[in-house]
Structure formats: structure tokens, C-alpha cells
Subunit: 255 residues, 2 copies
Amino acid sequence: MPTYRIDLAYDGSSFHGYAKQPSVRTVQGTLETALFPHTGTVDTFVAGRTDKGVHASGQVVSFVAGPIDVERVLRSLNRQIGPEIAVTGLREVAEGFHARFSATGRAYRYDINNRPVHDPFRSSFEWTYADALDESAMDTACASLVGEHDFAAFCRKQENRPTVRHVEWCRWHRQGDRVELAIGASSFCHQMVRSIVAVSVEVGRGRLDPADVEVILDSQDRNRGRGAAPPHGLTLVAVSYGEALVRPSWMVETS
Amino acid sequence: MPTYRIDLAYDGSSFHGYAKQPSVRTVQGTLETALFPHTGTVDTFVAGRTDKGVHASGQVVSFVAGPIDVERVLRSLNRQIGPEIAVTGLREVAEGFHARFSATGRAYRYDINNRPVHDPFRSSFEWTYADALDESAMDTACASLVGEHDFAAFCRKQENRPTVRHVEWCRWHRQGDRVELAIGASSFCHQMVRSIVAVSVEVGRGRLDPADVEVILDSQDRNRGRGAAPPHGLTLVAVSYGEALVRPSWMVETS
């Protein structure tokens, strides 16, 4: 049977996360229900399982099913599942492609609106944070996270799951009132980006020194972290399969 | 008693419009409830009454009340009414200032996403329109609306309300897949912008000639129009009081 790849984007606000769960609305549940008329019961696999409230602009899903008319199914999916989810692509791919296990890189973005008052047009997609943040201290602090490390201090503990990850880049950037984290890695452990944001914000407001971040990392102790920033500022922006992960333009220009 | 001016922005998606109504959630009702602890029962006046689903980034409200601590009330309002509404300013103004009757200009924007698939991050703020639109034909068509005209063909009829208006500018602009209308006038009659959008889109997809718009305008006949575009693409962006209305940067650069 052919293997298919779906590219999709979603506003995670009204879902109980990506992964299917009984009797609550999830992205995976919504997607598989919409696929059902075309494929029958189908198991889908996702590149980056996002938590409740987290968004994706470049999520990837794969599944194996009997031959389908991809153009027709693509239109049908979008008719059924909008406007919170948009299927931006559906195509047949080589046998053996697996959205999760074939992925070689994931890139996330975290958005902060560094103002006392939220922006009604963006409030579902950014963390409104009133205290002044020093984004260059945050950027300096995160340099120590790049490379291969045990991120146990930045991960929610899960039995028998290793916490060693390879971070390719981790940069903070300000544009006006907006402060944004861009981070790319082979993969992430649970709550890793939001935990890095929480520690970074403590640096940004002067409660931690940039050098403290390396000390926290080396401790491999979750209790040395600063918990996790709110989910709604987080977006999975890209997944790569062998090719280089796309970096935001501001990073390419300044690095 | 002093007169106060409030500047506010809101995502109109979850409100039954701006104007207070019994037993439904409105922007005015929410605002006056939040003011109540500071002012007691108060009558507020708004520059541009927006319909259900319409947004505002530069709305203005005025009220008269006993002396209040503006900094404290501003913080209190934002604690109470976020995140769909943001009060961006609160200050005492000259006696006699009236948000509606003192206003000399209003500017609106209408956003179209000219793609087959909606964007989950913008779908509450733009009309997703799949058929190809020729924005330069739309821009040409709207030139005939500039100046003083009877806009009866573009207004929902209201007894004893004149439909003569002075439009200062009316321009369409494309940036990638986004097509945007910018329109400025002394004031607007009911559903005027959305009616202009509906007719423009018929021009953009080739069902009307640009020259037909002037014919429709001259007919002063509402039945010659094309109804109204959906409310959620519309945003009140600015109100002026004597000073010139601010135009979008793309208009200043190209005109």
C-alpha cells in the first residue's frame, strides 16, 4: 500500500494537544476522522507531538493506506477541518517514510510580546510579558545550550526516555516589542523549549546571569530549572528529512 | 465632571458587535462593566460602531465621569477585559470632546487571503477567497468612489439616515497572497465598506468591469450592489479628530 505525507498547520488554542485521546478534541483525532471516508480506519504518525495549546505552522504527518486521489482528498480534508487546521500538502512518498522516525530535525519558535498590554490580534500566539527583557543577555545565555548535551534540567521526566539532545541553534531576537526564540535540534524532549524559555526570561529580567544557564544545564536536575513558559507562545515551524532545517531570515542575516 | 478618552483594540470574533444589547456579550457592555467599579453607571460613546465579527485596532470611546486615577483605571480595565480587548490609552481630554461627534475621519482595512486554504493563524481576521483576484482592476474600480457621493447603493438602508459620504481614499493592494483594501472617509454608512468589498471582488474575478462600479454608485440602488463581504475581514484602524487620517505605508510609497 502507498505511503502518504501530509503537511499541516494549526492553531492549537482549542485542541487538547496533538495526540489522540478519548472524548476530547485533538488535532490527530480531527484529522483521522476527516481521513476516514477516504481511507477507512488509519494510523497516522506525527513528526512533533505538540502539547495542549501549542501551535504548528510546519507539522508533518505520515500514513499508509490504499490508493487515494490526493487532490480530491486534500480538498475534502480542508473542507472538513478548517479553519483551525489547514492541510497545506498531501502527496505520495517513498515506501518506508515515517513522519516521526525519518525526521532529522525540528525547528520551533517561541513568541513573547514584551508589553504591559496584550495584543488582541496575536494573544493566542504569544506570551504577553510586561517586565522589560534584555534579549541580548537571553541570547548570550542560550549559546551554552548549542551542541550535544543531557537536557534533563530542561525536560519533564519520562521513564526510560533519554534526555540527551543535539541543539543546532538557539537564538533570541527582538523586533520592536516582540522577542522571539528560534531553536533547532534533531529532536526535543518533553517541554524542552518551554523550559528553555522560562529560564531565558529569568535571565532577561536580571534574576539569573547568562552564565547560570550553563550551570543549570550541567546540573541535569529538573528542580534547578524554572518550570515551563505558557504553551500558547510556542509554534513548531519546520521539520526536516535529511535536508538542512530552514532558519529564520533574521538569523541568517545577523550570523 | 472631566471628560475621558479611551483608545482600544479588539478581536470582534466572540462579541455580538460593539453596541450594548441585553443578554449578549458586546464590546461596549464588557467595557462599561469594567468601568463600573471606578465610575459607577456611565454612558460611553464610540467613534465607529462595529458590527458583529468586525475588529478594531484604533477604536476611540469617550465618557464623562467624576475624577478618576487614569493610570490605575487603565491597569484595572486591562486586567478585567483581556485578552480579546486591549485598552491602549486612557486620558483626560478637553470638555466637549465626543468620540463620535468630534471625529472628522475614520479609516478601515479589509483583508483577503487569496488562497484556496485558510491560514489558521489569521483566519479570524481575513476572508479566505480561493478564486484568483485581479487587484489592479479592483483598485481602478474603486477610484470612482473617491469624493462626495450618495452611497445608497453601498449602504444598508436605515430610515432617515442620509447616505451621502465623502471618501478620501479607497485603494486595493496586493502583497503575496494577501489582498487588502484601505479606505478613509469622514464617516461611513452601515455596511458600506463590506459592500464595497463585495462589489470589488466581483470586479477582481472578472464578473464586473471596473467601469461598472461607477454605474452601480450612480444608480443609488441597493439592489444593484452585491451584498456585503463577511464581517471578519474588516478592521477599524484609525479615527481622526481634526488631524489627517494616517494612511498605510504602502499607499504613501506608491501614490
